[in-house]
């Protein structure tokens, strides 16, 4: 359909190629690469044009890709086009080996957090007309790159699992009584934002503390714990147990309130606030600091 040809032209390597299994480029330019405000205007301007994207490439076993590089693609612009759409187009039309995770295309599966123009963003939720070109698309920083835009998420999952991320209550009535636990609307509202996390890993990737302390629980896991700790349906004892987990050496006290996680979270979860609140709770409960 299109006359644009694939053109992986440039071979420029990212600054820091001393990477084993390629640690992705460091998050040095956190200041969100140029958001353009009137995106409708920009979109109209782009109609019939192409968008220039520069995509990070790396594959540990393919010759020519073992040294990380950027490939350039020019993708025809369509109104409403997202960053994910652009890499999907490049893959389907130009280079079928271009690799990234994606599934829902609607910001619920959390698969496609990338480092776009210097900021962690969800590919499917980022309108390309909002970005300055060329649009630089890289894997999430501070995580091992598996291939192209795919990073190893195991460490992120491990941290999530550390906080006992499941409801714990012994005395729920038998289910065949058909009696639910009662919860006030206020309490439901209280945990609402925290329960929206889609495990995309953007927050963890943006966090300097997590980058320096591999054992730091990280914003997502702490937020997960917040969801349970603030839920009145769990008893006081369990809440205390949860606060103890969060209080450990690599827990809430590591956070230096830099707000980078809050800034990048695609679900607008007030992560830093939640971490602060848990610190206060811990103090209130008079738990010992580590």
């Amino acid at each position: 359909m299109s006359t644009q040809q694939a053109e992986p032209e440039s071979q420029e390597a990212p600054e820091d190629p001393a990477m084993k299994g390629a640690e992705s480029p460091a998050a040095d330019e956190q200041n969100g690469g140029g958001m353009v405000d009137e995106h409708a205007e920009k979109a109209a301007e782009l109609e019939g044009e192409t968008v220039h994207i520069k995509v990070f490439r790396y594959d540990p076993e393919v010759e020519g890709k073992q040294e990380p590089r950027f490939d350039d693609f020019h993708v025809p612009f369509e109104k409403g086009m997202t960053v994910l759409d652009s890499v999907m187009y490049a893959r389907d039309e130009y280079d079928s080996s271009l690799t990234f995770r994606h599934s829902c295309r609607q910001a619920v599966c959390g698969s496609d957090a990338f480092f776009v123009n210097g900021k962690q963003r969800l590919g499917c939720k980022t309108q390309i007309s909002d970005l300055e070109q060329p649009v630089r698309i890289e894997p999430l920083p501070h995580q091992e790159v598996v291939k192209d835009l795919v990073v190893d998420m195991d460490h992120f999952y491990d941290q999530m699992h550390t906080v006992e991320p499941y409801f714990q209550d012994e005395d729920t009535p038998p289910v065949d009584d058909l009696e639910e636990q009662r919860q006030s609307q206020e309490n439901r509202e209280k945990i609402k934002m925290s329960s929206r996390c889609i495990w995309c890993g953007a927050c963890m990737s943006s966090c300097n503390i997590a980058a320096g302390d591999n054992e730091y629980l990280g914003p997502a896991a702490i937020n997960k714990a917040y969801k349970f700790a603030m839920d009145d349906r769990e008893g006081e004892e369990i809440k205390e147990h949860r606060l103890r987990i969060l209080e450990q050496e690599h827990g809430v006290w590591r956070c230096q309130t830099q707000f980078s996680c809050t800034e990048v979270c695609p679900k607008d979860i007030p992560l830093t606030e939640h971490i602060q609140e848990l610190k206060r709770e811990a103090v209130k409960k008079n738990l010992k600091f580590w």
Binding site: A43, D92, Q106, C109, G110, R182, R196, D231
Partner: protein, 612 residues
């Protein structure tokens, strides 16, 4: 080789529930899933879970609504099992901490939904599926259930006696997406397929990129028939540019549909004089396309869904995420302007034929969730009825696979003395196996009598050869080209409106896709995270599944539920109170029918006109 009692393929709502149930029944269960569990498409469900929880409501009303919605093609034992068990299963989710929305007295909230006689759709904001998925994954973590995530299941290790009813499933063959390693997973008790919908057979869909009908295709080729595949639900309110769904919840809360003339067409043109916007989905989807067809569409493509009159407070409280969806994916602010919407492929009522216990006709092979057809939804699914199906039948499949006795099923499966053969439809092209293809037969190697491990081992070898062939081939066609062609044919000809000529055309194009697929190759030479390879295999599955959808759409010459045929504008109860079954028959598909069961526990459901 890995070995467990029960292997669950897929970790969406149905798979998670099956795994938890099998674990509680004492089995060693493992989940094998191509996506990490929380990435499953169950997370996209917005509206809610139907369950008769309140006083004044009861399961019989729920069953009645479901049967009526199904246009009398649901099997009563399945429909009643769903309605009876949904309340307990929903409460169970609450006990696991699922954050349901609440009433002032602290009980869970329920709202009205299309086709329901009582407001029984239990919800958690507009993110019910997200919470259901995460809550159940949390329980899987709690129980320490083993999850092999980002393992792609390629094939089932099934024996191949001539009669599928005599076959047995001993496990699955999967490859680790991250490393490309192919391994066998032996299942001592059973394999539960919970692989979700086949929406990617169409090019405008609310389904995820991962919804490629893998489980359908694997079960089909292993001998389990696919049932009622022609019944595809098109959701009336998806965003035109992406297919992202705007929940029925918007209409449940009072949202209104307008055409380009500003008319409330559902009433104005008499599509549904009683229920208006809340009529069953197929009715609303056809109404919208009729409006567009008659020149009253906006931009000749869509209609408007307006919720502005509900007021900011109510919208923010109940439908906040809809605002985000419209903004992020369509650039529209739902508080100040109406949202553009059009029908998109949404749900497959049909699927792998199973009984109330989730069993297929192949011993040891189970299916649950959207990939299965019990059949609860018959010709048309009511909104809010899929999520309860996941938890009710996911649980039963898990329990049964783990060896629990759930009683004799009333629903029969597989070819048998109660079926009727298709005789009179002329097909434009032969369906099934293309040219060079071999069936990967175990028997061909003298394997009918092979033991479980032998069967699995041979399937692993076949899979390795298949991957090598795809990877070694230097040039040819790429899957993306074939997939796009297939999707377009389905959306052009097997969509909301279907004609005999169109469906035949689709079958011809599907045939072409099959032939072209003989020349498919994988360009990416890497074993590491090779999505090119994965999508190539998925595309083959889509071809098989799309073909059954089109075949069903051709043979069923009536108008029932979501299946509309131009030449046949009435429901033909004398002839068509029966399920369509398509069996792969080792590459030469055959079609047969099984009567629907309308006798319930306390009453017989008499087909009535489905008016709203």
């Amino acid at each position: 080789m890995y070995e467990h009692d029960v292997i669950v393929v897929g970790a969406g709502g149905a798979g998670l529930r099956a795994a938890i149930a099998a674990n509680e029944a004492g089995a060693d269960v493992a989940m094998v899933t191509k996506l990490h569990p929380v990435r499953s498409h169950t997370g996209a469900a917005e509206g809610g879970i139907n369950a008769a929880l309140q006083e004044g409501d009861d399961w019989e009303l729920h069953a009645y609504d479901t049967m009526k919605g199904s246009d009398y093609l649901g099997d009563a034992p399945a429909v009643e099992t769903l309605a009876q068990n949904a309340p307990e299963e929903t409460i169970n989710l609450e006990h696991w901490g699922m954050p349901f929305s609440r009433e002032e007295d602290g009980t869970v909230s329920q709202r009205p939904f299309g086709g329901l006689s009582y407001p029984r759709t239990t919800y958690a904001g507009a993110e019910t599926g997200h919470h259901l998925l995460h809550t159940m994954y949390e329980q899987v973590v709690k129980r320490g259930i083993q999850v092999y995530d980002e393992w792609y299941v390629m094939d089932l290790a099934t024996t191949d006696e001539d009669d599928p009813n005599d076959r047995e499933c001993h496990g699955v063959v999967a490859y680790d997406v991250q490393s490309g390693t192919i391994e066998g997973f032996k299942a001592n008790n059973g394999v539960v397929l919970a692989t979700g919908g086949p929406g990617q057979a169409f090019d405008h869909t609310t389904n995820a990129v991962s919804c490629t009908g893998d489980g359908h295709a694997m079960a089909y080729r292993a001998g389990a028939p696919l049932e009622d595949m022609e019944f595809i639900q098109f959701h009336p309110t998806s965003l035109p540019s992406t297919g992202v769904l705007i929940s029925e919840g918007v209409r449940g809360e009072g949202g209104i549909l307008y055409n380009s003339e500003g008319e409330r067409f559902m009433f104005e043109y008499g599509y549904a004089n009683n229920s208006g916007e809340l009529a069953s989905r197929d009715v609303v989807a056809r109404a919208e396309l009729t409006e567009v067809g008659e020149g009253r569409g906006v931009d000749d493509e869509y209609v408007h869904l307006d919720m502005r009159h509900l007021g900011e407070e109510r919208i923010m409280d109940r439908l906040e995420n809809i605002l985000h969806l419209a903004e992020d994916f369509e650039g529209v602010d739902g508080l100040v302007e109406p949202m553009p919407v059009k029908p998109g492929q949404h749900y497959a009522m049909g699927g792998i034929e199973v009984d109330e216990n989730g069993q297929t006709c192949v011993d040891g092979l189970y299916a649950a969730g959207e990939c299965a057809c019990v059949s609860v939804h018959g010709g048309n699914r009511l909104g809010g009825n899929a999520l309860p199906e996941l938890i009710v039948f996911g649980k039963r499949a898990g329990q049964h696979a783990a060896g629990e006795d759930l009683g004799e099923p009333e629903i029969r499966t597989g070819y048998g003395d109660d079926v009727e053969d298709e005789t009179d439809t002329e097909l434009p092209v032969a369906p099934g196996k293309a040219g060079l293809e071999t069936s990967g037969s175990v028997a061909a190697d003298g394997g009918v009598t092979a033991d479980a491990e032998g069967v699995l081992q041979r399937k692993v070898e076949t899979a390795r050869e298949r991957v090598d062939t795809l990877m070694d081939k230097e040039d040819g066609v790429q899957h993306a080209e074939i997939r796009a062609k297939l999707q377009k044919a389905m959306t052009d000809y097997v969509n909301v409106f279907r004609t005999e000529e169109g469906v035949k055309k689709a079958l011809e194009i599907i045939r072409e896709c099959r032939e072209e697929y003989q020349d498919v190759y994988v360009d990416d030479p890497s074993r590491t995270f090779n999505t090119d390879l994965q999508q190539t295999i998925e595309t083959r599955n889509l071809i098989d599944v799309a073909e059954t959808i089109a075949l069903g759409a051709l043979v069923r010459d009536e108008f029932r539920g979501a299946h509309w045929r131009k030449e046949h504008q009435e429901r033909k109860d004398e002839e068509w109170l029966k399920h369509t079954l398509i069996s792969w028959d080792d590459g030469e598909p055959s079609i047969f029918y099984r009567p629907v069961i309308l006798e319930g526990e306390n009453k017989t459901y008499e087909p009535k006109e489905r008016s709203y």
